[in-house]
């Protein structure tokens, strides 16, 4: 059985990493391991936009992919962006081994509200399911409750359930088992 690796990029609260590990374990029958946290390289920072370039971070993740990994999920607390878009909650290679999520805009504090651990945990779980779903070939789902639906702002994240819809869940399982069959 191959392994899903988690890695913190820069400072990420231990608690957040634990939530992620739990959520992943609940949906994917894989071994989960954490790599040692990495420092975000200077070149990923865009001083003009005061944000981090997701593309650079994804490149970094791809380079550190352990040989026995089935997926590698990066987790960061910095604000992510790409040249075209003002921000990203996360990014994933569709049907590829690497994904990245940012906790920054999942925090109530980002929107000028008081910190709320329950809200944060719920949002983190949805984002993890979403980006991992992409790595197993799922694309955006039209069901607004499904974790695979596209969220372009935080209210949309809150409208989702902490799970996949029946169709996406089934498709994920299929994809997962067919890939397991390939490697064994």
């Amino acid at each position: 059985m191959k392994t899903l690796y988690l890695v913190a990029m820069g400072d990420v609260p231990k608690q957040v990493m634990e939530w992620i590990e739990h959520a992943a374990a609940e949906w994917l029958p894989v071994a989960i391991r954490r790599l040692e946290a990495r420092v975000i390289p200077e070149r990923a920072y865009d001083p003009k936009r005061k944000q981090y370039q997701s593309v650079e971070m994804m490149k970094m993740l791809a380079e550190m992919l352990p040989p026995d990994s089935c997926r590698l999920l990066g987790v960061t607390d910095v604000d992510l962006a790409i040249p075209m878009l003002s921000f990203l909650f996360g990014q994933a290679q569709v049907d590829g081994p690497v994904a990245l999520i940012s906790v920054c805009r999942l925090r109530q504090e980002f929107y000028g509200l008081r910190a709320d651990e329950d809200v944060l945990r719920s949002r983190v779980v949805k984002e993890v399911l979403h980006e991992l779903g992409h790595t197993f070939g799922l694309v955006h789902c039209d069901d607004p409750k499904c974790a695979m639906s596209l969220a372009t702002h935080i209210q949309r994240v809150d409208e989702k359930d902490e799970q996949y819809c029946a169709q996406c869940g089934l498709q994920l399982l299929k994809r997962f088992s067919s890939q397991e069959a390939e490697v064994s």
Binding site: P83, M84, L85, S86, L88, V94, V139
Partner: protein
């Protein structure tokens, strides 16, 4: 696959291309990327992209506008979205005028772009459903865009085939609405330039300076607002055909410039010092009598002869009335399917009215009349009453006989009529009558006509 619409992203910045493509792939689209305009156009030739994102500013090779125009030429159905940075919003608005569907300023909100994409694709889906139906019809007419059984028109069609592969300049004369552009297209698309661009310039629509930069392009800094070098229509038509509509309206200066291009096949961009060589066949059109304009000294004789190497005179519709039923049926089929209205044809009495009408606006007027009739038609077939307003139009046409009355009475009636038409506005009424205001006041007093201002 729930979304089978391919998307193209053209940008010289690799990070921009890759990240945009990755984001769209998460949505389930097939996305291709191109690092420059040339590559983008190449890809567009091979794939039927629903949406092409094109960066406005690409320092090397084709810029965004040129890329867009080329893509739209090979894929008229594709929606082009121009990507721009803040500094160039003006140019983006220009891009919209040139046919871009939308423009977005980067970086933009994810919601904005996702809504834009789904809005465009929803429209595409509707269009493609309609298009299947329309294509069936269009196929029948593809080679018969010009519908006729008039001997003079048939002669003209034969001529277009004969001259199609020559390089000689063609001058097409005809009243407005007779289909001058259709004939020009027939010449272009039947010849060995068919694969190359066919570029249309309407000379009457633009001021002298605008037309100059439109035709010849300009260098960076040629005038305020010229932030980058731009190629003109002549350059875009290189290898192909440039269609100069309403050539009779161009200024003396441009007449000179044009003559030079025709003689030497080279020109300067506005504000430029380097000559640009171009191989574009010129087809010009006018609804004016150019020979007469030459006689009056308003059009250069040398240019006239350069343009008039091959002359085509299109007859007005009233001189080819036998084509009216054919054209009317053709428009009914095409327009009703475009509007999604089931109209089976035209009744004989309605057709009789159409044939009797004088069609000062020619084929275009006929097309408009049919469209209007289809919109208001309620019973599945175009009947007399659907075009009956044509008869009123004909009856109210100025058929005027001089009445047998004293001259003073005529003058009085003319003044009253002018005042009525101008709603009592003395200034406009006097201008219409060709007299000055004080004279009009005198006459109002004399004929005891009261007026309100």
């Amino acid at each position: 696959m729930k979304k089978n619409w391919p998307i193209l992203v053209v940008d010289d910045e690799e990070v921009m291309c890759e990240s945009m493509a990755a984001w769209l792939r998460e949505d389930g689209y097939r996305v291709d990327i191109a690092p420059n305009g040339q590559k983008g156009v190449e890809l567009a030739k091979a794939s039927d992209y629903a949406i092409c994102f094109v960066d406005l500013k690409m320092p090397e090779g084709m810029d965004g506008i040129e890329t867009m125009m080329e893509i739209r030429r090979v894929r008229p159905e594709a929606s082009v979205i121009i990507i721009t940075a803040y500094a160039t919003v003006d140019t983006a608005i220009q891009a919209m005028k040139e046919g871009a569907q939308e423009y977005i300023v980067k970086p933009c909100n994810p919601q904005e772009i996702s809504m834009l994409v789904s809005r465009i694709l929803k429209l595409k889906k509707l269009q493609s459903e309609n298009a299947i139906l329309r294509k069936k019809l269009a196929r029948q007419y593809r080679h018969h865009d010009i519908i006729t059984k008039n001997p003079r028109m048939e002669e003209i069609l034969r001529l277009t085939q004969e001259i199609a592969s020559l390089r000689s300049t063609v001058l097409i004369r005809g009243e407005s609405g007779t289909g001058k552009e259709l004939v020009a297209r027939a010449v272009h698309f039947s010849g060995n330039r068919a694969e190359k661009p066919f570029i249309v310039v309407s000379c009457a629509a633009l001021t002298e300076t605008l037309l100059e930069s439109e035709l010849f392009g300009y260098e960076r800094g040629a005038f305020t607002g010229a932030n980058a070098q731009a190629r003109g229509k002549f350059e875009l038509a290189d290898g192909g055909t440039i269609f100069l509509d309403e050539i009779g309206d161009i200024s003396p200066k441009l007449q000179g410039d044009l003559l030079r291009v025709l003689q030497e096949r080279r020109f300067y961009r506005v504000g430029g010092s380097r000559e640009v060589e171009v191989d574009a066949r010129v087809i010009a059109a006018t609804n004016k009598n150019l020979a007469e304009q030459v006689h009056q000294g308003r059009f250069r004789e040398d240019l006239y002869y350069r343009l008039n190497v091959i002359e085509i005179n299109l007859p007005p519709l009233r001189d080819r009335r036998e084509d009216i039923p054919l054209l009317a049926e053709h428009f009914v089929q095409r327009i009703s399917s475009e509007l999604g209205k089931e109209i089976s044809g035209i009744t004989a009495p309605a057709l009789k009215l159409l044939i009797a009408h004088d069609w000062p606006g020619n084929v275009r007027e006929l097309e408009n009349v049919i469209e209007r009739a289809i919109v208001t038609c309620h019973n599945g077939v175009l009947d007399e009453q659907d075009v009956s307003w044509l008869r009123h139009k004909d009856l109210t046409a100025p058929v005027w006989e001089v009445p047998d009355v004293p001259l003073e009475e005529l003058e009085r009636q003319a003044i009253v009529a002018a005042l009525e038409r101008k709603q009592g506005n003395i200034k406009e009424a006097s201008a219409a009558l060709g007299i000055d205001r004080s004279t009009l006041y005198d006459k109002l007093k004399r004929y005891e006509i009261s007026h309100r201002n």
